[in-house]
Amino acid sequence: MVNRSVKSRKEPFSKKASTSIWKEDADESNPYLVSKTHLRGYSFDEITEQCDFIDTFYLLFLGDLPNKNQKQLLQLLLTTFISPSPRHPASRSAMSLGGGKTFPQHILPASLGIAGGEYLGGRQVQLCMHFIQNNYQTLPKKWLEEQQATLALADKLLLAEGRIIYGFGQQYGDVDPYATRLANKFLGKSFSGPHLTWCAELVDGLKLYDIGWLQTGIVAAVLCDLGFPAYAGAGLFQLIQAPGLLAHGLEAYPKSRTEFPFVSDEDYHIVDT
């Protein structure tokens, strides 16, 4: 007879949270206030005086200062993907939030939530990083040969959305030429990494399936080259896109509601009711 009565497991929870990122030295008179801070062991005063944003960003997430190639790669990543298209669902959400006079503090988190999706969003980056990290030891051509039967049977809609081979698919029914153009900015440079090169070879093979780069695939490959784990991909993609999302939302905020399209009653069709 099953007894569902509740008994505490008395798990040994830690007394303190811990972090290897940030150290706060307490003020002498009030132990809750801070006198001095260190980021990954470096005086934060010195960092603010001597490091630029890219150095600090890299140090914050990866624990050390970047070398020249790492810095150039990260700089290009943050710049290239600083803003999704104004037609991306996350940008459209940001504009809708701004135009709807949503409290401005909600514009960024709400639009970032949309930028976390499995199509052209953070979740797709994360899954693509898993895919790359799990398969990158196999030559792309060989991988494609092994997957031939699976891809032939794959759901075509999911394949197009980049949800079978995460990060690689189509937009609006075709290979996205702009994503290809963006990928080329990262290829063949002194800072180009092996994961991105592997993906570029994969894309060559995927032409057979009418599939190409999605922007999320590029971001995933670069994040792998920078040494991030796959689970970091979703949030980092959101972070990279955050400036553009907020900019679109803030631009929309002062506008009147009639400055945005509203589907007319004639064009709104209630079907199958």
Binding site: N3, K7, A26, P31, Q50, C51, H106, Q170, Y172, G173
Partner: protein, 279 residues
Amino acid sequence: MSTLKVEDYDRLRGKLPNRTGGWVPGTAVYCRGYDMMDDLVGQVDFFQSLVLNITGQLPEDRFAKWLHAAHICVSWPDPRIWCNQIGAYAAMARATVNAASSFGNLAADSVMYGQGTLPIGTRLIQRFYSQHINERKSVEEIVDQEIERKGGKVNIMGFARPLASGDERVVAMRRTAKNLAFQDGPHMQLALAIEELLYDRYSETMNFTGYLCAFMSDLGYSAEQVHRIFALIVVNGVTASFCEEAKKPADSFLPLRCDDVEYTGPAKRALPDMSHEKS
């Protein structure tokens, strides 16, 4: 590739077909063929309306009562629970109640607890059921294969829970279902058989997710529908935690001294000369 083409997208530009319903100003607001103001408002329960929007079917009244009970039973006013903590932090940061409720609820899109476990649990019990019926696998075989799949760990979605063994919510919901004249269907019977085996071997029982997923599977709901119907299931406790902390002075929710956060990173070190880039 059978996706939409440019001409298909062109046909949709500025047009919005919608199967669920909408507002026809001056006429009515429609939902799945019902006139909302005349047919639904004051006539049906909120959860009936929610399920109608999600599935297209207006469920029976007793199912709405069961949904109410499920939403009450899983959302407690205890700010130690992960999602509820977000509500408390929102209050501490003087964020709005909407931020608290929305982001606290979002926190439960987790693989450890909350709504995030529901599609996983539903797919799992439906897969187990299929194996049991179609592949004639015994309960023991199903449990053993799942434990083997998890590398020997007794970690089966819907069974056991963090912090405590046993689950008072399953007891309360089974009592509620019985009072509403719901019978155990085949998924629930299988879940109960799995529970019995796990209890005999490891003293672990079915948890709320396991109960809910089996119950919903017996009613024919898919994993996606279950996730959608219960999308707001923890909002009650999050909002309670927000309200509790909103009355208190700033910084007073579990205050931390600087040394209450243990630093485990590199020792203090000198910054290299940043006037020359590292190579």
